[in-house]
Amino acid sequence: MSVLELSYMPGCTLKTKAKNFETTTLKLLELLDVKAEELPDWYCCGTTYSLASDNVMNHLGPIRTLVKAKESGRGELLVLCSMCYNTLRRAQELVRGDEEKRNKINEFMYDEETDFAGDEVRVVHLLTLLKESIGFEALKQKLVRDPGDLKVAAYYGCMLLRPREIAVDPVAEHPSILEDLFAACGVESVYFPFRTECCGSYQTVNEKQLVISRTEAITESAVKNGADLIVTSCPLCYYNLDAYQPKVAKATPGFRTIPVMYISQILALLAGLEEIQDFSLHVVDPRPVLRAKGLIGADAAPLAAGAGA
């Protein structure tokens, strides 16, 4: 199989709180013959896209990163974090569609050797890479473990889907890319109505009660619909949904916690990459569920011969 090469921008949180997301993804991509080359100097994406018409300054970070990606000569830039994906894609759309702002932004590119027109680089999220460049079928060939009756709640959040011009799924209001991915891997996804609802995002800093309430609604819905795990690709959703559950449990008798994991953690487990998993970053420990489903531990269930082919 030929090696697919692309640039990679991790963003801030994948180097700290979401290190488990990065480690498992990179190892998985290696297994899939994808070479993700981290850009030597990427910039903070700003995390949330600025909506005020005259605020061009806040778009410089993502555009500088896109210029670096363009200068690398590789046509595609891989991002894993949903927030990076959102800001980079929207800044790119802005530059592509608005000549006045494009010229203004390019005037600020003092250290960059080339201008940016908006369409030189394709920003790809991990999900799009798996679907379009690798293919769910090819991914399936690399899996060695039997997920058994594991049920996941595929949580999209906001940043992969809105606005719809940048959505990773053509049907932004009723997406299926995550469920399709898991179905191809033999994992059942449960439908739960909160899968595309906001987790409260950055309100986690100063409106904790709001985020506690969002966490309760989202996780409770996932549990009620029979999920064993919530799966996401956004480090902020992950943090809010994971870290706030003990707070919800304290205030709500009978509340059942549910572990939250990154997409790549599950895929890496199915591919047999157990030793690279770091469960220390989880608040709600996923190991009891994973052990019960035979995905970790000495008696982890191998895929029946021929089942992966």
Binding site: T13, D54, C198, V205, P235
Partner: protein, 136 residues
């Protein structure tokens, strides 16, 4: 029911013009169907519904909107924007209103009041996003 004093000055006010310019939205496009309020995930914590905010803006009642808690609870999740049958991006109007406050050099969230535990515990994306939205 809150009484609103309508006036020509309010409708033509500079503040209303600024909201229009900063948000780049056709304020009059909204016909008050309430879809934005119906789908807003943060509405339970709001003092005024999102659809009421745009109504106030239409009527030039900008000061009222600026005093509401609602504009600070919007997390720009874009649910209202993608569902609006009139194509209004209400998240941009919320941002414009926040900007009118922040540009008076007001911190809605003071970075130096964040507790040490939070600074250690919260992921960077939470802090960066929060300061982007809530500081000048």
């Amino acid at each position: 029911m809150m009484k609103i004093q309508l006036s020509r000055q309010a409708l033509l006010s500079e503040l209303r013009e600024q909201v229009k310019d900063l948000s780049e939205q056709n304020l009059l496009a909204c016909y008050q169907c309430g879809k934005c309020s119906a789908g807003c995930p943060s509405i339970e914590a709001m003092d005024v519904m999102p659809s009421q905010i745009i109504r106030w803006v239409q009527l030039g009642q900008i000061e009222k909107a600026l005093k509401s808690k609602t504009i600070w609870l919007c997390a720009a999740c874009q649910t209202c924007k993608v569902r609006c049958p009139r194509g209004v991006d209400l998240a941009r109007i919320m941002e414009a209103l926040r900007q009118l406050v922040l540009r008076e050099n007001v911190n809605y969230v003071h970075p130096n009041t964040i507790s040490k535990e939070d600074l250690e515990e919260l992921p960077q994306i939470a802090l960066v996003a929060n300061f982007r939205k809530f500081t000048p």
